[in-house]
């Protein structure tokens, strides 16, 4: 009886571990849709941080208001992915989104890109799309740094509703 219970528990533990490993593989290589992450403006996540520095930012409802330029965030994709597509949903209140950059070396070295597409999403909101080749970016301690540049006077702002990154191999 005792041996039987232990055998069942052993099999259950092996199944749980295997299911957990399968869950991890599915999280990193989803079958039905591409792998994507979204910036949480309230807190850092393991894969993607919130926007920084706080001195150039203001939280207003669900949106992040940008008061100055540049603002940055860190991203930590696994090395299997070569292309990252960033989608930024924003609203210009005098300040305009100019470019986005990925850190490409030590010091102030950024691979700056203009949006490849800007589309209207309604109510004055726009969506800008940027593509980055992840193999060309600097990855100290497996973290990549991205900056968002905007232009405008010090009293002009820009609201960001969503920053989403989708990874492709």
């Amino acid at each position: 009886m005792k041996k039987k219970i232990l055998k069942i528990i052993r099999i259950l533990l092996i199944i749980v571990v295997l299911l957990f490993l399968l869950w991890l593989v599915d999280k990193n290589f989803p079958v039905t849709k591409p792998l994507s992450f979204e910036v949480n403006f309230n807190q850092d996540q393991a894969a993607i941080s919130k926007l920084k520095p706080v001195s150039r930012l203001l939280k207003l409802g669900d949106n992040q208001v940008i008061l100055g330029s540049p603002v940055y965030f860190n991203f930590r994709p696994i090395q299997f992915y070569r292309l990252a597509r960033f989608e930024i949903v924003y609203q210009q209140n005098g300040r305009s989104l100019t470019e986005m950059g990925g850190k490409s070396g030590v010091g102030w070295s950024y691979n700056l890109e203009k949006p490849i597409l800007i589309s209207d999403v309604g109510n004055g909101w726009q969506k800008a799309i940027f593509d980055f080749d992840l193999t060309k970016l600097y990855r100290p301690r497996n973290f990549m740094e991205f900056i968002i540049n905007s232009s405008g006077e010090s009293n002009q702002t820009m609201a960001i509703n969503q920053i989403k990154v989708t990874l492709y191999r």
């Binding site: 005792k2 219970i5 232990l6 533990l13 957990f20 999280k27 696994i78 090395q79 497996n142």
Partner: protein
């Protein structure tokens, strides 16, 4: 005829063997996750922090030592 199973009346050896099972499972899982994340940074730690398994490993290891 009803068969009653009272887990508390099982021999204490049962609990020690169960402890050993949990120790092995958590230690092996921790090691696999650690190696996976070392080889592919972010593969594990982007979704789950394996450090949460360490208290289970430590407690079960201590119980085993007491045996």
């Amino acid at each position: 005829m009803k068969v009653k199973i009272n887990l508390f009346q099982l021999q204490s050896n049962f609990w020690l063997e169960l402890n050993q099972l949990v120790f092995r499972a958590s230690f092996i899982t921790f090691t696999i996750l650690f190696v996976l994340d070392f080889l592919l940074p972010g593969f594990v730690t982007n979704w789950f922090n394996p450090i949460w398994l360490l208290p289970i490993v430590l407690i079960t290891a201590l119980i085993q030592r007491e045996k």
